[in-house]
């Protein structure tokens, strides 16, 4: 099915009418679902978790679209919901009794090896482990910049953080990842 590019205004006007709400929502998903999915997946790692978080995010977007005031772009608003949902999911997961961070990180390696929806090599697993050790917000900054190649300005709007602070955060994340790889090699 060819993907038609539709403007945010068109999506919003369709979704605000009861009669065309579903059509508008399908267009919204067609436009943004993949980017939102990868954003969430990089945070929660496993596909099943990413699927749950993404569905919650989209349900919230559908129900909250009437309150959306167009102060920011639709894309920024959706990314904010996805980021918050991911952080909520991770904080709930943290509350479950687990062992130390080191154990959790070695578990991550085992989980990725066993995951049928992951086929990265050993280097990619090491990178995921290094990312897992970063503070959550720093990891979000790294993912948005490194994988999604988002500009600092766009990131600033989503995360409501200054461009300077985001640049510093990305720099720290990169240095920490490098240090992790060096330590692993020793």
């Amino acid at each position: 099915m060819p993907i038609t590019v539709v403007s945010d205004e068109e999506i919003l006007s369709l979704m605000r009418e009861q009669r065309t709400q579903e059509q508008g929502f399908r267009l919204l998903m067609q436009q943004y679902q993949e980017r939102l999915y990868w954003h969430i997946r990089r945070m929660v790692i496993e596909h099943e978790d990413a699927n749950d978080v993404l569905q919650n995010c989209l349900v919230k977007a559908f129900r909250g679209i009437q309150q959306f005031e167009s102060k920011s772009s639709l894309f920024t608003w959706l990314y904010r919901i996805a980021t918050n949902e991911s952080l909520t999911f991770l904080s709930k997961k943290k509350r479950r009794p687990t062992s130390s961070i080191d154990d959790e990180n070695s578990n991550l390696g085992n989980r990725l090896h066993a995951d049928e929806y992951f086929d990265g090599d050993a280097l990619q697993i090491r990178l995921k482990k290094a990312l897992n050790l970063l503070p959550e917000k720093q990891r979000i900054v790294f993912n948005l910049r490194y994988y999604e190649e988002m500009s600092y300005q766009e990131m600033s709007e989503i995360l409501t953080t200054s461009v300077g602070a985001l640049k510093a955060s990305f720099h720290h994340a990169v240095k920490k990842i490098e240090t992790y790889f060096k330590e692993q090699e020793e």
Partner: protein, 176 residues
């Protein structure tokens, strides 16, 4: 996006050439087949079947049994139970020290004169003679202080003279 890509590449080259190289490799995450093409239907089904969460601000009215239950639960909180037990302990300890029931008895007060007398006769040999003499002297002095027969005549005369000073002699004569 192209601008962003170029900007990022330069940024990584300066900060971490290793991460720049890694970026060219595939990330490794996959999704199930047809995942994205069926997702919209799944989400719309979820929206239609799941009830919209309603925020209830009004307090839920509880039955009297539930109210007692929650009251008991509130009172049986470990911290509260410990605090109440400590207060109860302090009150009981206070009563123990204040109550006359727990005061040491004054055994001498309940003894009769005969019993004391008998005790002294039986235990006289245990008392120090000097102490007995001293006690007797002290008793005598105390008796003199009280008994008017032991007041010397000179003291009585002196007292009367003091009284008569400043009194009209004619009036004294009238009296006597």
């Amino acid at each position: 996006m192209n601008n962003n890509h170029e900007e990022l590449r330069e940024e990584l080259q300066a900060m971490s050439p290793f991460l720049e190289v890694m970026k060219t490799e595939k990330e490794g995450f996959k999704v199930p087949e047809n995942y994205f093409s069926t997702l919209a239907d799944e989400v719309l089904w979820k929206i239609k079947t799941e009830p919209t969460p309603v925020e209830v601000n009004a307090p839920i009215r509880k039955s009297w049994l539930q109210q007692i239950d929650s009251l008991l639960r509130a009172f049986l909180q470990p911290r509260l139970v410990l605090a109440l037990a400590s207060i109860a302990l302090i009150i009981v300890a206070g009563m123990f020290f204040i109550s006359p029931l727990f005061q040491p008895q004054d055994d001498l007060a309940s003894l009769s004169h005969d019993e004391i007398h008998q005790y002294l006769i039986n235990h006289a040999h245990e008392l120090d003679p000097e102490t007995l003499v001293e006690l007797t002297e002290e008793q005598k002095t105390a008796d003199q202080d009280i008994n008017p027969l032991f007041i010397p005549n000179e003291e009585v005369e002196k007292y009367l003279n003091e009284l008569s000073n400043g009194v009209d002699p004619a009036a004294l004569e009238e009296i006597f």
